[in-house]
């Protein structure tokens, strides 16, 4: 089930690592350095943030390479770093499958979405839809789904952050966990309100460099240990896993029965189609000056993210081979601490200075990762609230730029507060369900509308509304009635059973439904598609004429 990937949510005491106080001091020091440095960058960026373009799009001043790094930083969340390494270390090959879906998904963004979006939009995803459709209903719908997707994604990271931070710092008590969630929320709100997109982008860049450097270091050390022979690394991992060659073959996690196989297809579909509909990723394309630069940034992102996911092979199988599944599961049931444990082991083992340093470095990188991702999500959702819902729907375009930015900052504070509260009270929620839901909702509600409005001339407002609301409602409803919420011991409400829908991920049903409703809604609509507006959108999106 998806539950095994990004379940950072459960607070199991980290038996093997968190004990020694020196680790804790080192981790706290390194992490404080990261927070201090990034806050300094944020303040510097804040001084340069003057108008809406600065705040929402970082002044469109980033290069393709910089934005490629920032996209990677936004995308490689704790789920990728800790979750996939953990999943591979416990489920072998089936864990590796995630890496592939997360990467291939970028081609949809590259081939179909990034450039036309950059050419025709301004600050948010809804900008592109509002071009040719009725602005207010479409912005309301797109703003709503942006906020829903971002909040689910955000909540997953917050819940995970709290559990992880508490775990690694050895602070497993309820009080310190809450305190830490609050602190993470506060720092992320500071990034966004002070630094806007410029500050947030630099935070992503710093984090991406740290994450890649840390992962590369561990990968080199692991491969060196196996004389750069992948086959012997895999062989040792299989041996230590206790499952033999089956560890290297498909099916360990998803091959149990027909339902779990269907669930895997559903998840695969959501992953590959979800990325190009994630609002916090889409708004990154606005931070570069041209469509060509947007293309370049996606290419860099594909290279960086691809290299990173390739290294998760060494991380995951390395953890299985060198740490062993018993130690990993003793520390965290779903394997989320496999990467830090591997770092400790490869540095010389528990108790050694090398081990302590590497563990501290990798843990600090993991915290940096979480912080950067939540900042990106907060910015995406507050931008959509201020630009789509407030300025264009509620105030009908009668706002000043200052008022709009102020609204975005207030929204960031509110969203930060909401996610802190949810993170504290809903810590029993399964982070995996939330992330997978965010991908599924993005693929069901956002992607069809984006593609139809860019490429289909008969698309109408009704089609967009049916598609967005249909995709949104169906995916959320199916999750409510899925095994994620009830009917089994791992569910959110283990005592109840209203799990009428057998799949943990709704994508298999809700994604085709989103596309179907967009098509049907357009065909059945009485409104004539606006040919002139479509001409304008099509010409602009392909030529870049008049791009902001």
């Amino acid at each position: 089930m998806t539950g095994d990937l990004h379940t950072l949510a459960l607070g199991h005491p980290l038996a093997a690592t968190a004990g020694a106080g020196e680790h804790r001091t080192l981790i706290i020091t390194l992490f404080s350095v990261f927070v201090a440095a990034t806050l300094a960058i944020t303040v510097w960026a804040g001084r340069q943030t003057k108008d809406a373009t600065d705040f929402y799009a970082g002044g469109r001043s980033f290069t393709g390479f910089q934005n490629g790094l920032a996209i990677s930083g936004d995308y490689m969340s704790a789920a990728s770093f800790l979750g996939i390494a953990g999943a591979i270390s416990l489920f072998g090959y089936d864990g590796f499958l995630y890496s592939i879906g997360f990467l291939v998904a970028w081609l949809v963004a590259l081939l179909l979405v990034a450039e036309p979006l950059r050419n025709s939009g301004r600050f948010t995803m809804a900008d592109v839809l509002a071009y040719r459709l009725k602005q207010r209903p479409v912005r309301t719908a797109a703003g709503t789904s942006t906020i829903v997707v971002s909040i689910f994604y955000l909540l997953a990271q917050m819940v995970g952050a709290g559990a992880l931070v508490a775990l690694l710092l050895g602070a497993t008590g309820e009080g310190s966990r809450r305190w830490i969630i609050g602190l993470v929320g506060l720092v992320m709100v500071l990034y966004v309100t002070i630094g806007g997109m410029k500050g947030t982008t630099w935070v992503q860049i710093v984090k991406a460099v740290l994450l890649i450097a840390g992962t590369l270091l561990i990968t080199v050390l692991v491969l060196n240990k196996f004389n750069w022979n992948i086959s012997s690394l895999l062989g040792e991992a299989a041996k230590q896993s206790g499952k033999g060659e089956a560890f290297l073959e498909p099916g360990l996690q998803y091959g149990k029965d027909g339902t779990s196989k269907l669930n895997f297809i559903s998840l695969g579909l959501a992953l590959v189609l979800g990325t190009a509909g994630l609002p916090h990723i889409l708004i990154r394309f606005y931070t570069v000056p041209t469509a060509k630069a947007a293309r370049k940034s996606v290419n860099w992102a594909i290279g960086i993210i691809g290299a990173f996911y390739l290294m998760t092979i060494a991380l995951g199988f390395g953890a299985a081979a060198l740490v062993g599944p018993k130690t990993i599961t003793a520390s965290n049931e779903s394997g989320n601490t496999a990467a830090p444990l591997l770092a400790e082991e490869i540095g010389g083992g528990a108790g050694s200075t090398g081990g302590a340093i590497l563990l501290a470095v990798i843990s600090a990188v993991a915290f940096a990762t979480i912080l950067a991702v939540v900042a990106g999500l907060t910015l995406a959702s507050s931008a959509s609230f201020a630009h789509d819902l407030w300025a264009n729907v509620i105030r009908r375009g009668r706002t000043s730029e200052k008022e709009e930015i102020l609204t975005a900052k207030c929204a960031a504070v509110v969203i930060g507060a909401v996610s802190i509260a949810l993170g504290i009270f809903a810590h029993r929620l399964n982070a995996a369900a939330l992330v997978a839901l965010a991908f599924a909702v993005a693929a069901s509600a956002n992607l069809p509308t984006i593609l139809y409005s860019l490429f289909w001339k008969r698309f109408t407002t009704q089609g967009a509304l049916w598609s967005i609301y249909g995709g949104l409602i169906s995916s959320v409803t199916l999750v409510i009635f899925s095994p994620v919420l009830s009917g089994n011991p791992k569910a959110l409400f283990p005592g109840m059973s209203f799990d009428y829908f057998p799949l943990a991920n709704p994508g298999l049903v809700s994604i085709p439904l989103g596309f179907l409703l967009g098509w049907l809604g357009s065909l059945l609509s009485r409104e004539q598609p606006d040919a002139k507006k479509y001409a304008e959108l099509e010409v602009r999106s392909l030529t870049g004429y008049g791009a902001h």
Partner: protein, 126 residues
């Protein structure tokens, strides 16, 4: 600009080449849209991106389905502890990199010059 995304009264960004004003414009866009040059640009984009998208999504889903339902085939040893499943997985990485490179080459050769020519014409015609 009635329903265009820039409905707020924000000042035009500096350096932004004359963002077209309100609705007198769209007719010009229809003319451009109907022009042969634009048709070529659109065809060059769609005839490349659409089939390729279909191809890599199919290839990815095939891989997912093989992992699900063709265990024996995927378990076949290639060399040492490396099996077909692992090789195909690495193949997904390789094809992703290749497609990204191929598309960028196509875009630089076939899309960018056409887009630039049309943009220059639109900007010159104001």
């Amino acid at each position: 600009m009635d329903t265009a995304p820039t409905a707020t009264q924000e000042p035009e960004e500096p350096g932004c080449p004359g963002v077209p004003g309100p609705s007198a414009e769209p007719d010009r866009f229809s003319d451009v849209q109907a022009s042969a040059e634009f048709g070529e640009l659109r065809r060059a984009q769609r005839s490349f991106a659409f089939p390729l998208t279909l191809a890599f999504v199919t290839w990815y889903l095939l891989y997912v389905l093989l992992s699900n339902y063709a265990g024996d085939f995927m378990d076949t040893t290639v060399v040492g502890h490396i099996n077909v499943a692992f090789v195909l997985g690495l193949g997904q990485f390789l094809t992703t990199f290749l497609i990204a490179w191929w598309y960028s080459r196509h875009a630089a050769a076939k899309l960018d010059p056409r887009a630039e020519a049309l943009r220059a014409r639109l900007e010159g015609g104001e």
